[in-house]
């Protein structure tokens, strides 16, 4: 197989790892880590697509004809910023959840309101996690 396609196997591996951590782990911090791994896999997907065989770094210079594609790098820079913001917000929420519930294990967290009406929504939430 073309060795340059190994990147894409890595993408799939990371994507599955991230999704597994997201679904199987109850600890909210681990969920955030899983989310990050999942997002990183997509970043690698984009970066790999920017690769051009024998392309130089995309800095104009007189001796070079073939450059790799810089656009995916720029896009992913933006996506990384989005991902950092999401992670920061997620961690901030985890801190508050810890303060409010005394736990960060998703299995022990549930909506507390005495309203009977909310029970169904909790069930659907759980099954979706």
């Amino acid at each position: 197989m073309d060795p340059q396609l190994y990147n894409y196997w890595l993408v799939i591996l990371l994507m599955m790892t991230g999704l597994y951590a997201l679904i199987a782990r109850g600890n909210l911090i681990r969920k955030i880590i899983g989310l990050n791994i999942f997002q990183v896999s997509v970043f690698i997907l984009y970066i790999s697509a920017g690769f051009i065989r024998e392309g130089a770094a995309p800095i104009l210079s007189p001796n070079v004809d073939v450059y790799s594609n810089p656009l995916p790098h720029v896009l992913i820079l933006t996506a990384i910023v989005v991902s950092v913001a999401t992670t920061a917000l997620g961690l901030a929420l985890v801190i508050r959840i810890k303060a409010a519930f005394g736990s960060i294990d998703d299995d022990t967290l549930s909506y507390s309101s005495g309203d009977s009406a909310t029970e169904l929504s909790i069930k659907t939430q759980k099954s979706s996690q």
């Binding site: 600890n27 800095i59 910023v81 961690l91 801190i95 005394g102």
Partner: protein, 157 residues
């Protein structure tokens, strides 16, 4: 926080270098790899390192959260303002060519201003995040029943 003298001395040497490197990445970004995002994170790292070595109070004295908020907002406004300047000078939004009479100089000026805005906002945001999380950590560390979150505290710091 740390009373280790070696760390503090090394830190004193290292932090200025980190700041200079951030500026190098910032200004090199126009011609090569680099730019406001990367430089902003490096600059933020310098401030966070300072906070780790010399404590929260010293860091807040050096760079107050209020200042950080101001800096973050000004960075965004600088970015947007550069874009709007393009409109005011009869160009399109974010068109750098019209900023100066010579389009090439205009491009230079535009990208420098934009990247400066990014640097200000990113470094302020990264530092503010570190402040917020560490302040919370100290609150919760006094809480004795921290089993699952002790991991998270390590991750955060």
């Amino acid at each position: 926080m740390s009373d280790d003298i070696i760390l503090r001395i090394v830190g004193k040497f290292l932090i200025p270098l980190v700041v200079v490197f951030a500026l190098y990445v910032q200004f090199h970004g126009e011609y090569g790899p680099g730019g406001g995002f990367q430089a902003g994170v490096i600059l933020g790292a310098a401030l966070i390192l300072y906070r780790l070595l010399f404590g929260d109070a010293a860091a807040r004295k050096a760079v107050s959260p209020r200042w950080l908020r101001l800096q973050a907002a000004v960075g965004v406004l600088l970015y947007g303002g550069t874009g709007v300047a393009g409109i005011l000078l009869q160009g399109q939004f974010l068109e750098y060519n019209v900023l100066l009479t010579d389009p090439i100089n205009g491009q230079h000026l535009g990208i420098i201003l934009i990247e400066l805005g990014v640097l200000l906002t990113v470094s302020a945001t990264i530092t503010a995040l570190a402040y917020t999380f560490s302040a919370d950590t100290e609150e919760h560390l006094s809480d004795p029943q921290v089993d699952p979150s002790s991991q998270s505290d390590q991750l955060r710091s």
